[in-house]
Amino acid sequence: MALTENTRERRVRASLAPWLKGVLVALGSVSITMLGLLFVTFVIGRVMPIDPVLAIVGERASQSTYDAVYEQLGLDKPLLVQFLYYLWDVLHGDFGMSLLNARPVSEDIARVFPATLELATLGTLIGVLLGVPLGVIAAVRRGSWIDQIARVVALVGYSMPIFWLGLMGLLVFYGVLGWVGGPGRLDIFYQDIVPSRTGMILIDSAIAGDWGVFRNAFSHIILPATLLGYYSLAYISRMTRSFMLEQMSAEYVTTARVKGMSERQVIWGHAFRNIRVQLITVIALSYANLLEGSVLTEIIFSWPGIGSYITTALLSADMNAVLGGTVVVGLIFICLNLFSDLLYRVFDPRSK
């Protein structure tokens, strides 16, 4: 009895160890990547043709003030030490002060980020809900008219400049048809009515039960979110299609048919089950891409998110803000990759 307990325990440990090891390796490689990312942004910040001291003290400061600030910023130290300082600050969530409004960059980012998150999440949701079924159907009915449509949809998505499509959307649906709200997150009349809990207006207004604000926010977000959703749909439907094509030609699909299953059961119960993990990776990637794609979209729609923040900072040479924003977006990118990698390890039985 004791013996069997013992062997079972050993078996459990044996099956866990390589899994855990994989996770540790993944975490290790991610931290190296993060370090590299910080190093690159650090270097970019140092090669800037802008003198950070001058930006703080102004043109007419005396030489002694200049020197004091120079030392205070640690610019007299060797580059490596400066990098360590930078690392230390970033690890504490300190990206320095914005040169434009003299507020901590981290506070600014925390304020604008929910707007981007709301937009990108809704966009991904649209992309997944439409793109996955479209990809599956295109694969199952390969060569049919629906497959052709899926192909055209993806091709156009890959070829269309997003900012231009956004402009055209504004022109048609806002300017001509008046179906949606214009730029911004809310009409002026609705602003600052509901308390900000999450910073995502759709959620905040739903919590507050203020459906007037919700409707208005929805009319503003739906166009940019659909736009982002379209790009995510183009990518997700193509990937889903090629994953499904691979699975549908697999022998276990024939097995399922031999068992007497209906095509629907074969497709969703067997083939689709095999692409779920791959699909999650693709969705995570597309989500990360949307966070980035929102840079241009946010500008078109005057959406006060991180994309607008970085670009505004860029045009006014506010380097702390640019690098802070870049680091945050980069870290989210890496975390999403890590997340999908871990999911892969946990949910695919073959990876253990």
Binding site: E251, Y252, T254, R257, V258, K259, G260, S262, R276
Partner: protein
């Protein structure tokens, strides 16, 4: 009445270079017996098995005067009715369990699914039947195997699981498409014996598709020899060595035999006339 009657079966695939005819007008019947179909790759033997189950996917086409299961022409059935034939009345074991089992589903779920599709019972009952079935294919620790994923079991065990899964709805006909070709030689015989026993016990008809003449002659009652989509010869398995068709003779002579060692094996030389000659009827 015969279990299965196939009359003038054609399988065609339109391609850019024209229509490829994989099976060209063959006829045969199957009783409660073990029928072997032998041929080289591309001879249409696998396509024949799949055509019976109507598993040829478009653009491939199945044409036949009749594919009758106990008098019922399967070609007249709707796709929905055909699904009650698949699994429940005719089943198929494929070549390699590595590919024919769903890699991300537990073995138990896959077997139970096969049972639940054709029997309106609860999960507990399905589970009980699955365990019995695994036991019937000589799997010693069925509880553990039920929980395993396909990549965690060996090839021989995988194929026994496949047999269990295909026999659990209790079909009348089992089509075994090269069921041991992907297995180690050491377990081939074991798997075949298990399959053979179950088929005999249940009084089923077996269509055993293989390229291995010796194996087929040993495990079957009757053998069809296929060449280029046609049946070139039909003979009783125990009289295979008296076969007359030059193709069959060629196949037999190209195999090494322990009782008649030779310095040099014959190389099969083909006669284009073989593929032009009309099919031999495979009726019992």
């Amino acid at each position: 009445m015969n279990l299965l009657d196939v009359e003038n079966l054609w399988v065609k695939f339109p391609t850019r270079q024209g229509v490829v005819e994989a099976v060209r007008g063959i006829s045969f019947s199957l009783g409660r017996e073990r029928l072997g179909i032998v041929g080289e790759s591309g001879s249409g033997k696998s396509m024949t098995g799949r055509a019976i189950l109507r598993l040829i996917r478009p653009p491939g086409m199945i044409e036949a005067d009749r594919i009758a299961l106990e008098g019922q022409n399967l070609l007249d059935l709707s796709e929905k009715d055909m699904r009650t034939v698949r699994g429940e009345r005719i089943s198929m074991v494929m070549q390699d369990p590595k590919f024919s089992l769903n890699p991300v589903m537990r073995v138990g779920d896959q077997i139970m699914e096969a049972y639940l599709l054709h029997n309106k019972v609860g999960k507990a009952e399905a589970r009980k039947r699955s365990l019995e079935m695994l036991d019937a294919v000589s799997i010693r620790d069925p509880e553990r195997v039920m929980r395993a994923y396909p990549h965690e079991v060996s090839g021989g065990m995988g194929q026994r699981i496949m047999i269990a899964m295909m026999l659990i709805p209790n079909p009348q006909i089992l089509i075994a498409d090269e069921p041991t070709s992907a297995l180690d030689v050491s377990v081939q015989r074991q798997v075949l014996n298990i399959m053979d026993d179950l088929v005999k016990q249940r009084g089923m008809g077996l269509i055993f598709i293989s390229h291995d003449l010796n194996l087929v002659s040993e495990f079957c009652d009757r053998v069809l020899i296929m060449y280029a989509g046609r049946i070139v010869e039909v003979c009783d398995a125990d009289k295979l060595h008296q076969a007359t068709h030059p193709y069959t003779r060629g196949l037999l002579n190209s195999l090494p035999r322990l009782d008649q060692p030779r310095a040099k094996l014959e190389v099969l030389s083909r006669d284009p006339a073989w593929s032009e000659a009309p099919s031999v009827g495979g009726r019992a």
